[in-house]
């Protein structure tokens, strides 16, 4: 059976691979959406922090002999702590200014991080081995799926859903959302809003670090790995609707699949298809698929 000249088997495997890539998009755009939705900051350093997460894992494994699972926990903490430092020392001072200032600051942090890693490690990249328990591949009948890629999908879905649940369905999430709508009122209830905002930013970037660790064994760990990805991830956030948590998750996965299909039918367009979708969505629904118009 063929679908537009492509055998069903090939189609299924491409869909699955699209889902794998989509889960990276989902996790990264989720972090961006959390930060934008709750802090109104366009965090341009997200890609660099994703790269920092991957490098943290690489350094932990190669220099300190720690294992992958420990780094999966540790690297996001390190990246998150860095985020907390950035927020309290610099970003916090820009909240009352235009969005552009936050964007410029975080862009500067990107350049700084990339420069530091480049001067220490060069651009050829480093290799992190797939952990032994996830090495090997499973024959699914229509394709051979490396176990590690399956793990990536599961882990990222779990993290995405947990985040969505906490923010949308728990009282902590309600406080967070209320704090961004009217900080003064929430403070009157005895909530330390600035600390809540700091921790939110830390959590958002920790998600980027987590994605970095997940990516490290399958792609070349280089200082530029984040900037290759970040523009696409921004497009995902815009399509999903700036600040929409569910939008970021669903759009991330969907665009991974669309990109995968493009690679079968017209590979040359695979890097632009996301932006074509973005243009169409912006024309039809300027607030994004899941976004609410702000008045």
């Amino acid at each position: 059976m063929d679908i537009f000249g492509v055998p069903l088997q090939a189609m299924l495997s491409q869909l699955l691979l699209g889902l794998v890539n989509g889960s990276f998009y989902a996790m990264l755009s989720l972090g961006l959406a959390v930060i934008f939705g709750l802090l109104n900051v366009i965090n341009f350093s997200h890609g660099a922090l994703y790269m920092a997460g991957a490098f943290a894992a690489f350094i932990g494994v190669s220099s300190f002999g720690l294992n992958y699972w420990l780094m999966l926990l540790l690297a996001p903490l390190v990246v998150g702590a860095f985020g907390v430092l950035v927020e309290t020392s610099m970003l916090r001072r820009l909240y009352q200014l235009d969005h552009l200032y936050g964007l410029l600051l975080t862009f500067g942090i990107t350049l700084l991080l990339e420069g530091v890693f480049r001067s220490f490690y060069g651009v050829s990249g480093q290799t992190l081995e797939v952990p032994e328990s996830l090495a090997g591949a499973t024959d699914l009948g229509f394709m051979i799926l490396p176990n590690y890629r399956a793990w990536v999908v599961l882990a990222s879905l779990a993290v995405c859903l947990a985040t969505w649940f906490v923010i949308e369905k728990t009282s902590l999430g309600a406080l967070l959302r209320a704090g961004t709508e009217n900080a003064r009122l929430v403070e009157a209830f005895g909530v330390n809003v600035p600390r809540m905002v700091t921790l939110t930013y830390g959590f958002g970037v920790a998600l980027a670090g987590f994605a970095g660790v997940l990516a490290a064994p399958v792609i070349n760990v280089t200082p530029l790995m984040g900037s290759n990805l970040i523009i696409v991830v921004f497009a995902v956030v815009v399509i999903g609707g700036m600040g929409s948590i569910l939008g970021a998750i669903v759009t991330g996965l969907a665009l991974g699949v669309i990109e995968g299909l493009t690679r079968v039918y017209y590979p040359e367009a695979s890097e632009v298809v996301v932006f074509v979708v973005m243009v169409i969505v912006l024309l039809l629904r300027p607030a994004g698929l899941f976004g609410r118009e702000r008045t």
Binding site: V130, A137, I219, N220
Partner: protein, 402 residues
């Protein structure tokens, strides 16, 4: 107060930039070498700052002066954008008195710079870029193409693999001048040797993921997967090929592989891989001696390109010395009539089409057991004489060599 402090700091920074600019403009009485390459992107390790350091070593070895004139050196990053490369080259030729330009990695950028150099009648030496068009369809009396080109890579690696039974090929190609050129040249060699090309898939430069492309390659049932890409793209493609078990069913041919790539991927992943290279640090006493000096500065072994940067700069400066002038026509004539004999090439010759012809080597990557340690990666399988490796007079479309 704070604001004035920031403003004055910015002003100070701006002054430094301007001062640099001003000192660089003093020309006329100096020999000025410019180098435009990828200093920050995917190709920065194979050439980049290491390549610039190699040129500095060449200048230092000449004593910093030639024909009684001081030698100056400027470097810029083209960020893999041909338009940046071309406008920088134009600025340097017009305003900064650059006498000779070294074009680093990226074929698109080199083709653009070659056009500018031709228009301005200045010597242009392309080193890191692969496209054979530089000395074929787009040849110029002012271009020298050093190190390798796509034709030599195709004839080296591919002819051997076809002869060993790898008859059917599928290409994974970087979608720009270099990749297309390499795929085309390799395809011709495959057909000439009795093989077939089953198809190809083109991926953008610095693609984020190769798994979908590789599944398409696997579906083609070809015996050999030809990787017509380089640097980070090559590394990610090989990694994914291993992960998806492709390497068990197909042979992987790296058409442009640098020692830095092998260093990143490790011997477990790359052992047995065939590749064509024009230079390897551990070939003889002369190469080892130079590599040792380079290692002391850069803390890693040099690639073919970095060694070529040294050799090209040295030979250019020797030519300037011989004719006692930096006039591009005189220097080019001198370069073309002098044989190149140094740690990089034996009996190398710059032909009328601008191609520097020298022997290439077919290498095989050692197994982890064979390797004695870091950077001990290659064994020479065959020497490919320069005359066989590069485009011949019969094949050329270059008007300068008819």
């Amino acid at each position: 107060m704070k604001r004035t402090a920031i403003a004055s700091a910015a002003l100070a920074a701006a002054t430094v930039v301007v001062a640099n600019h001003a000192s660089a403009q003093v020309s006329g009485d100096t020999i000025k070498i410019g180098m435009i390459t990828d200093l920050s992107g995917v190709y920065a390790d194979i050439d980049g700052n290491g390549g610039a350091e190699a040129v500095r070593m060449a200048i230092a070895d000449m004593g910093g002066a030639v024909a009684g004139k001081r030698i100056q050196f400027v470097v810029a990053d083209h960020q893999n954008k041909p338009d940046i490369a071309a406008s920088k080259a134009r600025e340097w030729f017009d305003q900064q008195g650059v006498d000779m330009l070294i074009g680093g990695t990226n074929s698109g950028a080199s083709l653009a710079m070659a056009k500018v150099a031709r228009e301005k009648k200045k010597v242009f030496i392309a080193i890191g870029s692969g496209t054979a068009q530089l000395t074929n369809e787009q040849c110029s009396p002012y271009t020298v193409h050093y190190a390798y080109d796509t034709v030599a890579l195709a004839r080296g690696t591919c002819a051997t693999m076809v002869k060993q039974g790898g008859k059917s090929w599928y290409f994974l190609t970087a979608d720009y001048a270099f990749g297309q050129s390499l795929e085309k040249d390799t395809g011709e060699v495959i057909k000439a040797n009795g093989g077939t090309v089953l198809g190809s898939v083109k991926h953008p430069l610095s693609a984020s993921d190769f798994s979908s492309f590789l599944l398409q390659a696997q579906a083609s049932k070809a015996q050999v997967l030809g990787l017509a890409n380089a640097g980070g793209d090559f590394i990610n493609a090989v990694k994914a090929a291993n992960e998806f078990g492709l390497t068990k069913k197909m042979k992987v041919a790296g058409l442009l592989v640098f020692i830095n790539d092998i260093h990143t991927l490790g011997l477990n992943t790359t052992q047995g891989l065939y590749l064509t290279d024009g230079w390897y640090w551990d070939m003889n006493d002369a190469t080892r001696a130079w590599a040792k000096r380079y290692m002391a500065k850069m803390k890693k072994q040099p690639s073919m390109l970095q060694a070529a940067d040294y050799s090209a700069a040295t030979n250019y400066l020797n030519a300037v010395k011989a004719v006692g002038s930096d006039d591009a026509d005189k220097v080019m004539a001198q370069l073309k009539k002098t044989r190149i004999n140094d740690m990089f090439a034996k009996n190398g010759e710059i032909r009328p089409d601008g191609r520097m012809v020298y022997d290439m080597y077919l290498m095989q990557v050692k197994t982890p057991k064979e390797s004695k340690g870091p950077w001990d990666y290659y064994k020479v399988v065959a020497t490919i004489p320069g005359a066989q490796a590069y485009t011949t007079k019969l094949e050329t479309k270059c008007a300068l060599w008819k």
